[in-house]
Symmetry: C2
Subunit: 283 residues, 2 copies
Protein backbone atom coordinates (compact mmCIF):
# COMPACT_ATOMS: atom_id res chain seq x y z
CA UNK A 1 0.00 0.00 0.00
CA UNK A 2 1.51 3.27 -1.16
CA UNK A 3 0.87 6.46 0.80
CA UNK A 4 0.45 9.20 -1.82
CA UNK A 5 1.87 12.19 0.03
CA UNK A 6 1.90 15.63 -1.52
CA UNK A 7 5.23 16.58 0.09
CA UNK A 8 7.70 15.33 -2.55
CA UNK A 9 5.61 16.85 -5.35
CA UNK A 10 5.14 20.06 -3.41
CA UNK A 11 8.87 20.54 -2.77
CA UNK A 12 9.77 19.87 -6.38
CA UNK A 13 6.99 22.10 -7.69
CA UNK A 14 7.65 25.00 -5.32
CA UNK A 15 11.27 25.21 -6.42
CA UNK A 16 10.21 25.09 -10.09
CA UNK A 17 7.62 27.80 -9.43
CA UNK A 18 10.20 29.98 -7.65
CA UNK A 19 12.43 29.82 -10.71
CA UNK A 20 9.49 30.53 -13.02
CA UNK A 21 8.44 33.52 -10.90
CA UNK A 22 11.95 34.97 -11.21
CA UNK A 23 11.75 34.65 -15.01
CA UNK A 24 8.26 36.14 -15.13
CA UNK A 25 9.23 39.02 -12.83
CA UNK A 26 12.17 39.81 -15.05
CA UNK A 27 10.07 39.73 -18.21
CA UNK A 28 7.22 41.86 -16.79
CA UNK A 29 9.34 44.21 -14.68
CA UNK A 30 7.13 43.36 -11.67
CA UNK A 31 6.14 40.37 -9.56
CA UNK A 32 3.14 38.20 -10.42
CA UNK A 33 0.33 39.73 -8.37
CA UNK A 34 -2.46 37.96 -6.51
CA UNK A 35 -5.21 39.76 -4.67
CA UNK A 36 -7.49 37.92 -2.24
CA UNK A 37 -10.78 39.58 -1.34
CA UNK A 38 -12.14 38.71 2.07
CA UNK A 39 -15.33 39.87 3.74
CA UNK A 40 -15.83 39.48 7.48
CA UNK A 41 -13.84 37.65 10.12
CA UNK A 42 -14.51 33.95 9.50
CA UNK A 43 -11.71 32.31 11.52
CA UNK A 44 -10.98 29.41 9.18
CA UNK A 45 -11.02 31.79 6.21
CA UNK A 46 -8.52 34.09 7.89
CA UNK A 47 -6.15 31.13 8.34
CA UNK A 48 -6.59 29.96 4.71
CA UNK A 49 -6.04 33.48 3.41
CA UNK A 50 -2.93 33.97 5.52
CA UNK A 51 -1.56 30.66 4.21
CA UNK A 52 -2.21 31.65 0.61
CA UNK A 53 -0.48 35.00 1.11
CA UNK A 54 2.47 33.38 2.87
CA UNK A 55 3.07 30.72 0.23
CA UNK A 56 2.71 33.21 -2.61
CA UNK A 57 5.24 35.50 -0.92
CA UNK A 58 7.60 32.53 -0.38
CA UNK A 59 7.85 31.92 -4.10
CA UNK A 60 8.35 35.61 -4.83
CA UNK A 61 4.84 36.73 -5.72
CA UNK A 62 3.16 39.93 -4.64
CA UNK A 63 0.18 38.70 -2.66
CA UNK A 64 -2.12 40.70 -0.42
CA UNK A 65 -5.62 40.55 0.97
CA UNK A 66 -8.22 43.25 0.49
CA UNK A 67 -10.37 43.07 3.62
CA UNK A 68 -13.93 44.26 4.10
CA UNK A 69 -15.98 44.27 7.30
CA UNK A 70 -18.78 41.69 7.69
CA UNK A 71 -21.24 44.57 7.17
CA UNK A 72 -19.86 45.61 3.75
CA UNK A 73 -22.47 46.00 1.02
CA UNK A 74 -22.10 43.56 -1.91
CA UNK A 75 -22.02 46.57 -4.27
CA UNK A 76 -19.01 47.98 -2.44
CA UNK A 77 -17.09 44.70 -2.73
CA UNK A 78 -18.16 44.30 -6.37
CA UNK A 79 -16.74 47.75 -7.12
CA UNK A 80 -13.43 46.82 -5.51
CA UNK A 81 -13.26 43.62 -7.57
CA UNK A 82 -14.05 45.63 -10.72
CA UNK A 83 -11.09 47.88 -9.92
CA UNK A 84 -8.83 44.84 -9.53
CA UNK A 85 -10.18 43.53 -12.86
CA UNK A 86 -9.27 46.83 -14.50
CA UNK A 87 -5.81 47.02 -12.93
CA UNK A 88 -3.33 45.59 -15.48
CA UNK A 89 -0.81 44.84 -12.72
CA UNK A 90 -3.18 42.35 -11.04
CA UNK A 91 -2.84 38.82 -12.45
CA UNK A 92 -5.13 36.80 -10.20
CA UNK A 93 -8.14 37.61 -8.04
CA UNK A 94 -9.71 35.27 -5.53
CA UNK A 95 -12.83 35.95 -3.49
CA UNK A 96 -12.57 33.96 -0.28
CA UNK A 97 -15.67 32.00 0.68
CA UNK A 98 -17.85 31.83 2.69
CA UNK A 99 -19.30 35.32 2.18
CA UNK A 100 -21.95 36.95 4.38
CA UNK A 101 -25.53 35.97 3.56
CA UNK A 102 -26.27 39.30 1.85
CA UNK A 103 -23.98 38.17 -1.02
CA UNK A 104 -25.69 36.13 -3.72
CA UNK A 105 -23.28 33.46 -4.96
CA UNK A 106 -24.93 33.57 -8.40
CA UNK A 107 -23.91 37.23 -8.72
CA UNK A 108 -20.49 36.92 -7.08
CA UNK A 109 -19.49 34.18 -9.53
CA UNK A 110 -19.54 36.81 -12.28
CA UNK A 111 -17.43 39.44 -10.53
CA UNK A 112 -13.91 38.21 -11.25
CA UNK A 113 -13.05 38.55 -14.94
CA UNK A 114 -12.30 35.14 -16.53
CA UNK A 115 -8.78 36.33 -17.41
CA UNK A 116 -8.00 36.73 -13.67
CA UNK A 117 -10.24 33.97 -12.33
CA UNK A 118 -7.54 31.90 -10.59
CA UNK A 119 -10.16 30.06 -8.51
CA UNK A 120 -11.91 29.01 -11.78
CA UNK A 121 -15.38 29.80 -10.40
CA UNK A 122 -16.75 32.06 -13.19
CA UNK A 123 -19.24 30.23 -15.45
CA UNK A 124 -17.13 31.07 -18.50
CA UNK A 125 -14.06 29.50 -16.85
CA UNK A 126 -16.16 26.46 -15.91
CA UNK A 127 -17.42 26.17 -19.49
CA UNK A 128 -13.93 26.56 -20.94
CA UNK A 129 -12.71 23.67 -18.83
CA UNK A 130 -15.71 21.55 -19.82
CA UNK A 131 -15.06 22.30 -23.50
CA UNK A 132 -11.31 21.76 -23.19
CA UNK A 133 -10.55 25.37 -24.18
CA UNK A 134 -7.59 27.31 -22.73
CA UNK A 135 -8.37 28.78 -19.33
CA UNK A 136 -7.72 28.40 -15.62
CA UNK A 137 -8.34 24.94 -14.17
CA UNK A 138 -10.05 24.56 -10.79
CA UNK A 139 -7.31 24.13 -8.17
CA UNK A 140 -8.50 21.09 -6.23
CA UNK A 141 -9.63 18.84 -9.12
CA UNK A 142 -6.55 19.75 -11.16
CA UNK A 143 -4.45 19.06 -8.05
CA UNK A 144 -5.90 15.54 -7.82
CA UNK A 145 -4.77 14.81 -11.37
CA UNK A 146 -1.32 16.34 -10.82
CA UNK A 147 -0.73 14.06 -7.84
CA UNK A 148 -1.93 11.04 -9.83
CA UNK A 149 0.47 12.05 -12.62
CA UNK A 150 3.34 12.65 -10.22
CA UNK A 151 3.07 9.12 -8.86
CA UNK A 152 3.18 7.77 -12.40
CA UNK A 153 -0.36 6.49 -12.86
CA UNK A 154 -2.09 6.60 -16.24
CA UNK A 155 -5.84 7.23 -16.31
CA UNK A 156 -6.44 6.54 -20.01
CA UNK A 157 -8.83 3.65 -20.57
CA UNK A 158 -9.14 3.08 -16.81
CA UNK A 159 -12.31 3.25 -14.74
CA UNK A 160 -12.37 6.34 -12.53
CA UNK A 161 -15.14 6.81 -10.01
CA UNK A 162 -15.98 10.17 -8.45
CA UNK A 163 -18.11 10.24 -5.31
CA UNK A 164 -19.56 13.71 -4.79
CA UNK A 165 -20.96 16.29 -7.15
CA UNK A 166 -20.07 19.70 -5.76
CA UNK A 167 -19.41 22.50 -8.23
CA UNK A 168 -15.95 22.99 -6.74
CA UNK A 169 -14.68 19.40 -6.81
CA UNK A 170 -16.90 16.53 -7.97
CA UNK A 171 -18.35 18.02 -11.14
CA UNK A 172 -15.17 19.55 -12.59
CA UNK A 173 -13.14 16.50 -11.54
CA UNK A 174 -15.44 14.20 -13.53
CA UNK A 175 -15.01 16.45 -16.55
CA UNK A 176 -11.22 16.52 -16.27
CA UNK A 177 -11.11 12.72 -15.88
CA UNK A 178 -13.10 12.38 -19.09
CA UNK A 179 -10.50 14.52 -20.87
CA UNK A 180 -7.87 12.09 -19.59
CA UNK A 181 -9.70 9.29 -21.41
CA UNK A 182 -10.95 7.61 -18.24
CA UNK A 183 -14.34 5.94 -18.19
CA UNK A 184 -16.08 7.97 -15.49
CA UNK A 185 -18.57 6.61 -12.96
CA UNK A 186 -20.15 9.52 -11.08
CA UNK A 187 -21.81 8.73 -7.75
CA UNK A 188 -23.42 10.90 -5.08
CA UNK A 189 -25.86 10.92 -2.18
CA UNK A 190 -28.68 9.56 -4.37
CA UNK A 191 -26.65 6.61 -5.70
CA UNK A 192 -28.10 3.24 -4.75
CA UNK A 193 -25.79 0.37 -3.78
CA UNK A 194 -22.79 2.70 -3.84
CA UNK A 195 -20.18 -0.03 -3.23
CA UNK A 196 -21.31 -1.96 -6.31
CA UNK A 197 -20.28 1.05 -8.42
CA UNK A 198 -17.20 2.21 -6.53
CA UNK A 199 -15.72 -1.31 -6.41
CA UNK A 200 -15.37 -1.19 -10.20
CA UNK A 201 -13.00 1.76 -10.05
CA UNK A 202 -9.28 1.58 -10.73
CA UNK A 203 -9.18 5.16 -9.42
CA UNK A 204 -11.58 6.26 -6.69
CA UNK A 205 -11.93 10.00 -6.00
CA UNK A 206 -13.87 10.89 -2.86
CA UNK A 207 -15.21 14.40 -2.21
CA UNK A 208 -18.36 14.16 -0.11
CA UNK A 209 -17.57 15.88 3.18
CA UNK A 210 -18.36 12.83 5.32
CA UNK A 211 -15.45 11.93 7.60
CA UNK A 212 -14.20 8.33 7.15
CA UNK A 213 -17.23 7.37 5.05
CA UNK A 214 -15.41 5.27 2.42
CA UNK A 215 -14.24 1.91 3.76
CA UNK A 216 -12.62 -1.26 2.44
CA UNK A 217 -15.97 -2.51 1.12
CA UNK A 218 -16.07 0.43 -1.36
CA UNK A 219 -12.60 -0.18 -2.77
CA UNK A 220 -11.48 -2.47 -5.57
CA UNK A 221 -8.39 -4.46 -4.58
CA UNK A 222 -5.32 -2.51 -5.67
CA UNK A 223 -7.25 0.67 -6.51
CA UNK A 224 -5.77 4.16 -6.19
CA UNK A 225 -7.86 6.16 -3.71
CA UNK A 226 -7.77 9.98 -3.77
CA UNK A 227 -9.30 11.54 -0.69
CA UNK A 228 -10.38 15.16 -1.17
CA UNK A 229 -12.26 15.44 2.13
CA UNK A 230 -11.05 17.07 5.29
CA UNK A 231 -12.94 17.02 8.56
CA UNK A 232 -12.88 15.71 12.10
CA UNK A 233 -13.87 12.23 13.22
CA UNK A 234 -15.60 11.32 16.48
CA UNK A 235 -12.22 11.34 18.25
CA UNK A 236 -11.69 14.93 16.99
CA UNK A 237 -8.82 13.80 14.77
CA UNK A 238 -8.36 15.48 11.36
CA UNK A 239 -9.38 12.90 8.77
CA UNK A 240 -10.58 12.68 5.20
CA UNK A 241 -13.67 11.14 3.64
CA UNK A 242 -11.82 7.82 3.54
CA UNK A 243 -11.34 5.60 6.61
CA UNK A 244 -7.64 5.33 5.82
CA UNK A 245 -6.65 2.27 7.87
CA UNK A 246 -9.70 0.29 6.80
CA UNK A 247 -9.46 1.21 3.09
CA UNK A 248 -5.71 0.49 3.22
CA UNK A 249 -6.53 -3.22 3.69
CA UNK A 250 -7.56 -3.43 0.00
CA UNK A 251 -6.39 -0.25 -1.77
CA UNK A 252 -3.14 -0.14 -3.72
CA UNK A 253 -2.52 3.50 -2.79
CA UNK A 254 -4.27 6.25 -0.80
CA UNK A 255 -3.67 9.97 -0.34
CA UNK A 256 -3.38 10.76 3.38
CA UNK A 257 -5.34 13.49 5.14
CA UNK A 258 -3.73 15.83 6.04
CA UNK A 259 -0.80 15.93 3.62
CA UNK A 260 -2.46 14.59 0.47
CA UNK A 261 -4.76 16.67 -1.71
CA UNK A 262 -4.92 19.65 0.69
CA UNK A 263 -1.51 21.08 -0.23
CA UNK A 264 -2.25 20.57 -3.94
CA UNK A 265 -5.04 23.16 -3.91
CA UNK A 266 -2.87 26.09 -2.87
CA UNK A 267 -0.21 25.03 -5.38
CA UNK A 268 -2.88 25.23 -8.09
CA UNK A 269 -3.71 28.76 -7.03
CA UNK A 270 -0.06 29.79 -7.34
CA UNK A 271 0.25 28.06 -10.73
CA UNK A 272 -2.86 29.83 -12.00
CA UNK A 273 -1.63 33.22 -10.79
CA UNK A 274 1.72 32.66 -12.49
CA UNK A 275 -0.07 31.59 -15.68
CA UNK A 276 -2.13 34.79 -15.53
CA UNK A 277 1.06 36.83 -15.26
CA UNK A 278 2.88 34.84 -17.96
CA UNK A 279 -0.04 35.45 -20.35
CA UNK A 280 0.86 39.16 -20.25
CA UNK A 281 4.45 38.70 -21.39
CA UNK A 282 4.86 40.05 -24.91
CA UNK A 283 6.46 37.46 -27.18
Amino acid sequence: MIRLEARPYREKRLSELKADVVKCTSALGRKPKLRVVMVGDHTASAIYVANKEKMAAEIGMDAATVKFPETAAPEEVARAVAELNADPSVDGILIQRPLPKSFKEEDVLLWVHPSKDVDAFHPETVGRMSLGLPGFLPCTPAGCLKLVDFYGYDLAGKIACVIGRSSIVGKPLAQLLLQRDATVLHCHSRTKDLASITRQADFLFVAIGKPEFVRAEHVKPGAVVIDVGIGKNAANKTVGDVAYDDAAKVAGAITPVPGGIGPMTILGLLENTLAGANAKIKP
Copy 2:
Protein backbone atom coordinates in the same frame (compact mmCIF):
# COMPACT_ATOMS: atom_id res chain seq x y z
CA MET B 1 -41.01 -2.87 -26.02
CA ILE B 2 -42.15 0.73 -26.21
CA ARG B 3 -41.22 2.86 -29.19
CA LEU B 4 -40.47 6.31 -27.79
CA GLU B 5 -41.60 8.51 -30.67
CA ALA B 6 -41.27 12.28 -30.53
CA ARG B 7 -44.50 12.87 -32.48
CA PRO B 8 -47.04 12.98 -29.60
CA TYR B 9 -44.75 15.22 -27.54
CA ARG B 10 -43.97 17.37 -30.54
CA GLU B 11 -47.64 17.98 -31.40
CA LYS B 12 -48.53 18.82 -27.82
CA ARG B 13 -45.52 21.06 -27.38
CA LEU B 14 -45.92 22.90 -30.68
CA SER B 15 -49.48 23.89 -29.83
CA GLU B 16 -48.36 25.06 -26.37
CA LEU B 17 -45.52 27.03 -27.93
CA LYS B 18 -47.89 28.62 -30.45
CA ALA B 19 -50.07 29.87 -27.60
CA ASP B 20 -47.03 31.10 -25.67
CA VAL B 21 -45.71 32.92 -28.73
CA VAL B 22 -49.06 34.74 -29.07
CA LYS B 23 -48.82 35.87 -25.43
CA CYS B 24 -45.18 36.91 -25.80
CA THR B 25 -45.91 38.79 -29.04
CA SER B 26 -48.72 40.67 -27.35
CA ALA B 27 -46.57 41.57 -24.33
CA LEU B 28 -43.55 42.68 -26.39
CA GLY B 29 -45.45 44.27 -29.26
CA ARG B 30 -43.41 42.16 -31.69
CA LYS B 31 -42.76 38.51 -32.51
CA PRO B 32 -39.96 36.51 -30.83
CA LYS B 33 -37.06 36.85 -33.25
CA LEU B 34 -34.52 34.24 -34.26
CA ARG B 35 -31.62 34.92 -36.57
CA VAL B 36 -29.60 32.10 -38.09
CA VAL B 37 -26.17 32.95 -39.46
CA MET B 38 -24.96 30.74 -42.29
CA VAL B 39 -21.70 30.86 -44.20
CA GLY B 40 -21.34 29.06 -47.52
CA ASP B 41 -23.56 26.58 -49.31
CA HIS B 42 -23.24 23.34 -47.36
CA THR B 43 -26.23 21.34 -48.67
CA ALA B 44 -27.20 19.62 -45.43
CA SER B 45 -26.87 22.91 -43.56
CA ALA B 46 -29.16 24.65 -46.04
CA ILE B 47 -31.82 22.00 -45.38
CA TYR B 48 -31.43 22.23 -41.59
CA VAL B 49 -31.59 26.02 -41.70
CA ALA B 50 -34.68 26.00 -43.90
CA ASN B 51 -36.36 23.58 -41.45
CA LYS B 52 -35.55 25.78 -38.49
CA GLU B 53 -36.93 28.85 -40.26
CA LYS B 54 -40.06 27.00 -41.33
CA MET B 55 -40.89 25.60 -37.89
CA ALA B 56 -40.22 28.92 -36.18
CA ALA B 57 -42.52 30.66 -38.65
CA GLU B 58 -45.19 27.98 -38.11
CA ILE B 59 -45.44 28.82 -34.42
CA GLY B 60 -45.53 32.55 -35.15
CA MET B 61 -41.91 33.56 -34.67
CA ASP B 62 -39.92 35.94 -36.84
CA ALA B 63 -37.13 33.75 -38.15
CA ALA B 64 -34.68 34.50 -40.93
CA THR B 65 -31.24 33.50 -42.07
CA VAL B 66 -28.38 35.91 -42.60
CA LYS B 67 -26.32 34.36 -45.37
CA PHE B 68 -22.67 34.92 -46.20
CA PRO B 69 -20.68 33.53 -49.12
CA GLU B 70 -18.16 30.73 -48.49
CA THR B 71 -15.43 33.32 -49.02
CA ALA B 72 -16.62 35.71 -46.30
CA ALA B 73 -13.92 36.81 -43.85
CA PRO B 74 -14.50 35.69 -40.23
CA GLU B 75 -14.23 39.35 -39.15
CA GLU B 76 -17.12 40.28 -41.44
CA VAL B 77 -19.35 37.56 -39.99
CA ALA B 78 -18.25 38.44 -36.44
CA ARG B 79 -19.31 42.06 -37.08
CA ALA B 80 -22.73 40.93 -38.28
CA VAL B 81 -23.17 38.77 -35.17
CA ALA B 82 -22.11 41.72 -32.99
CA GLU B 83 -24.86 43.80 -34.64
CA LEU B 84 -27.41 41.07 -33.89
CA ASN B 85 -26.14 40.99 -30.29
CA ALA B 86 -26.69 44.74 -30.03
CA ASP B 87 -30.14 44.67 -31.65
CA PRO B 88 -32.70 44.56 -28.79
CA SER B 89 -35.33 43.08 -31.12
CA VAL B 90 -33.25 39.91 -31.69
CA ASP B 91 -33.93 37.23 -29.06
CA GLY B 92 -31.91 34.31 -30.33
CA ILE B 93 -28.87 33.93 -32.59
CA LEU B 94 -27.59 30.67 -33.99
CA ILE B 95 -24.45 30.21 -36.06
CA GLN B 96 -24.97 27.22 -38.32
CA ARG B 97 -22.11 24.71 -38.40
CA PRO B 98 -20.01 23.59 -40.18
CA LEU B 99 -18.20 26.84 -40.96
CA PRO B 100 -15.43 27.27 -43.56
CA LYS B 101 -11.96 26.31 -42.36
CA SER B 102 -10.87 29.94 -42.01
CA PHE B 103 -13.20 30.20 -38.98
CA LYS B 104 -11.65 29.16 -35.65
CA GLU B 105 -14.29 27.40 -33.56
CA GLU B 106 -12.59 28.62 -30.38
CA ASP B 107 -13.22 32.22 -31.47
CA VAL B 108 -16.67 31.67 -32.96
CA LEU B 109 -17.91 30.16 -29.66
CA LEU B 110 -17.54 33.61 -28.10
CA TRP B 111 -19.40 35.59 -30.76
CA VAL B 112 -23.01 35.10 -29.72
CA HIS B 113 -23.76 36.89 -26.45
CA PRO B 114 -24.82 34.42 -23.71
CA SER B 115 -28.19 36.21 -23.41
CA LYS B 116 -28.99 35.25 -27.04
CA ASP B 117 -27.07 31.98 -27.18
CA VAL B 118 -30.00 29.69 -28.08
CA ASP B 119 -27.63 26.95 -29.25
CA ALA B 120 -25.95 27.03 -25.81
CA PHE B 121 -22.44 26.88 -27.29
CA HIS B 122 -20.78 29.87 -25.54
CA PRO B 123 -18.45 28.77 -22.70
CA GLU B 124 -20.41 30.92 -20.23
CA THR B 125 -23.64 29.17 -21.24
CA VAL B 126 -21.90 25.81 -20.92
CA GLY B 127 -20.60 26.76 -17.46
CA ARG B 128 -24.00 28.03 -16.34
CA MET B 129 -25.55 24.68 -17.22
CA SER B 130 -22.78 22.80 -15.46
CA LEU B 131 -23.27 24.93 -12.32
CA GLY B 132 -27.07 24.70 -12.49
CA LEU B 133 -27.42 28.47 -12.96
CA PRO B 134 -30.18 30.02 -15.09
CA GLY B 135 -29.34 30.02 -18.79
CA PHE B 136 -30.10 28.33 -22.09
CA LEU B 137 -29.87 24.55 -22.12
CA PRO B 138 -28.27 22.75 -25.07
CA CYS B 139 -31.07 21.65 -27.39
CA THR B 140 -30.26 17.99 -28.01
CA PRO B 141 -29.30 16.89 -24.46
CA ALA B 142 -32.24 18.82 -22.97
CA GLY B 143 -34.47 17.23 -25.65
CA CYS B 144 -33.39 13.76 -24.49
CA LEU B 145 -34.52 14.54 -20.96
CA LYS B 146 -37.80 16.09 -22.12
CA LEU B 147 -38.68 12.93 -24.02
CA VAL B 148 -37.77 10.78 -21.01
CA ASP B 149 -39.99 13.01 -18.87
CA PHE B 150 -42.82 12.96 -21.39
CA TYR B 151 -42.94 9.18 -21.31
CA GLY B 152 -43.14 9.27 -17.51
CA TYR B 153 -39.73 7.92 -16.53
CA ASP B 154 -37.95 9.10 -13.40
CA LEU B 155 -34.15 9.32 -13.51
CA ALA B 156 -33.55 10.00 -9.80
CA GLY B 157 -31.45 7.31 -8.16
CA LYS B 158 -31.28 5.34 -11.40
CA ILE B 159 -28.17 4.38 -13.32
CA ALA B 160 -27.82 6.40 -16.53
CA CYS B 161 -25.07 5.58 -18.98
CA VAL B 162 -23.92 8.01 -21.67
CA ILE B 163 -21.84 6.67 -24.57
CA GLY B 164 -20.06 9.51 -26.33
CA ARG B 165 -18.35 12.64 -25.07
CA SER B 166 -18.90 15.35 -27.67
CA SER B 167 -19.23 18.92 -26.44
CA ILE B 168 -22.65 19.15 -28.09
CA VAL B 169 -24.27 16.02 -26.71
CA GLY B 170 -22.34 13.58 -24.50
CA LYS B 171 -20.70 16.00 -22.10
CA PRO B 172 -23.67 18.29 -21.39
CA LEU B 173 -26.01 15.29 -21.26
CA ALA B 174 -23.93 13.68 -18.51
CA GLN B 175 -24.06 16.94 -16.56
CA LEU B 176 -27.83 17.28 -16.92
CA LEU B 177 -28.34 13.66 -15.85
CA LEU B 178 -26.33 14.35 -12.71
CA GLN B 179 -28.67 17.25 -11.92
CA ARG B 180 -31.54 14.81 -12.26
CA ASP B 181 -29.99 12.73 -9.47
CA ALA B 182 -28.99 9.87 -11.75
CA THR B 183 -25.78 7.95 -11.09
CA VAL B 184 -23.89 8.63 -14.32
CA LEU B 185 -21.62 6.17 -16.11
CA HIS B 186 -19.79 7.98 -18.91
CA CYS B 187 -18.28 5.82 -21.66
CA HIS B 188 -16.50 6.63 -24.92
CA SER B 189 -14.14 5.31 -27.55
CA ARG B 190 -11.43 4.60 -24.96
CA THR B 191 -13.72 2.59 -22.66
CA LYS B 192 -12.66 -1.01 -22.25
CA ASP B 193 -15.26 -3.80 -22.11
CA LEU B 194 -18.00 -1.32 -22.98
CA ALA B 195 -20.89 -3.78 -22.59
CA SER B 196 -19.91 -4.52 -18.98
CA ILE B 197 -20.58 -0.85 -18.18
CA THR B 198 -23.57 -0.16 -20.43
CA ARG B 199 -25.40 -3.30 -19.24
CA GLN B 200 -25.66 -1.72 -15.78
CA ALA B 201 -27.71 1.17 -17.09
CA ASP B 202 -31.42 1.66 -16.47
CA PHE B 203 -31.17 4.47 -19.04
CA LEU B 204 -28.73 4.20 -21.92
CA PHE B 205 -28.00 7.34 -23.97
CA VAL B 206 -26.04 6.78 -27.18
CA ALA B 207 -24.35 9.63 -29.06
CA ILE B 208 -21.29 8.29 -30.83
CA GLY B 209 -21.98 8.72 -34.55
CA LYS B 210 -21.53 5.02 -35.38
CA PRO B 211 -24.56 3.63 -37.20
CA GLU B 212 -26.17 0.62 -35.47
CA PHE B 213 -23.23 0.21 -33.08
CA VAL B 214 -25.19 -0.54 -29.91
CA ARG B 215 -26.74 -4.03 -29.91
CA ALA B 216 -28.66 -6.26 -27.52
CA GLU B 217 -25.44 -7.26 -25.75
CA HIS B 218 -24.97 -3.64 -24.56
CA VAL B 219 -28.46 -3.31 -23.10
CA LYS B 220 -29.76 -4.25 -19.65
CA PRO B 221 -33.06 -6.14 -19.90
CA GLY B 222 -35.89 -3.60 -19.68
CA ALA B 223 -33.62 -0.56 -20.08
CA VAL B 224 -34.74 2.68 -21.73
CA VAL B 225 -32.50 3.38 -24.73
CA ILE B 226 -32.19 6.92 -26.11
CA ASP B 227 -30.56 7.04 -29.52
CA VAL B 228 -29.09 10.43 -30.42
CA GLY B 229 -27.25 9.25 -33.53
CA ILE B 230 -28.37 9.68 -37.10
CA GLY B 231 -26.56 8.20 -40.07
CA LYS B 232 -26.82 5.69 -42.87
CA ASN B 233 -26.21 1.97 -42.57
CA ALA B 234 -24.63 -0.29 -45.22
CA ALA B 235 -28.05 -0.58 -46.93
CA ASN B 236 -28.18 3.24 -47.12
CA LYS B 237 -31.10 3.33 -44.71
CA THR B 238 -31.31 6.21 -42.20
CA VAL B 239 -30.51 4.71 -38.80
CA GLY B 240 -29.28 5.73 -35.37
CA ASP B 241 -26.33 4.58 -33.29
CA VAL B 242 -28.51 1.75 -31.98
CA ALA B 243 -29.30 -1.40 -34.00
CA TYR B 244 -32.99 -0.96 -33.24
CA ASP B 245 -34.33 -4.45 -34.00
CA ASP B 246 -31.50 -6.20 -32.21
CA ALA B 247 -31.56 -3.93 -29.12
CA ALA B 248 -35.36 -4.24 -29.04
CA LYS B 249 -34.93 -7.91 -28.07
CA VAL B 250 -33.87 -6.83 -24.56
CA ALA B 251 -34.67 -3.11 -24.15
CA GLY B 252 -37.86 -1.93 -22.46
CA ALA B 253 -38.09 1.13 -24.69
CA ILE B 254 -36.10 2.74 -27.52
CA THR B 255 -36.32 6.04 -29.38
CA PRO B 256 -36.59 5.38 -33.12
CA VAL B 257 -34.40 7.04 -35.76
CA PRO B 258 -35.78 9.03 -37.50
CA GLY B 259 -38.63 10.33 -35.36
CA GLY B 260 -37.06 10.11 -31.91
CA ILE B 261 -34.51 12.61 -30.61
CA GLY B 262 -34.09 14.42 -33.96
CA PRO B 263 -37.33 16.43 -33.72
CA MET B 264 -36.58 17.30 -30.07
CA THR B 265 -33.53 19.38 -31.01
CA ILE B 266 -35.40 21.91 -33.14
CA LEU B 267 -38.11 22.16 -30.46
CA GLY B 268 -35.38 23.08 -27.98
CA LEU B 269 -34.21 25.84 -30.28
CA LEU B 270 -37.73 27.28 -30.45
CA GLU B 271 -38.15 27.02 -26.68
CA ASN B 272 -34.84 28.79 -26.09
CA THR B 273 -35.74 31.58 -28.51
CA LEU B 274 -39.10 32.05 -26.80
CA ALA B 275 -37.38 32.08 -23.40
CA GLY B 276 -34.99 34.75 -24.70
CA ALA B 277 -37.97 36.86 -25.78
CA ASN B 278 -39.92 36.24 -22.57
CA ALA B 279 -36.92 37.40 -20.52
CA LYS B 280 -37.44 40.85 -22.05
CA ILE B 281 -41.04 41.25 -20.89
CA LYS B 282 -41.21 43.86 -18.15
CA PRO B 283 -43.03 42.51 -15.09
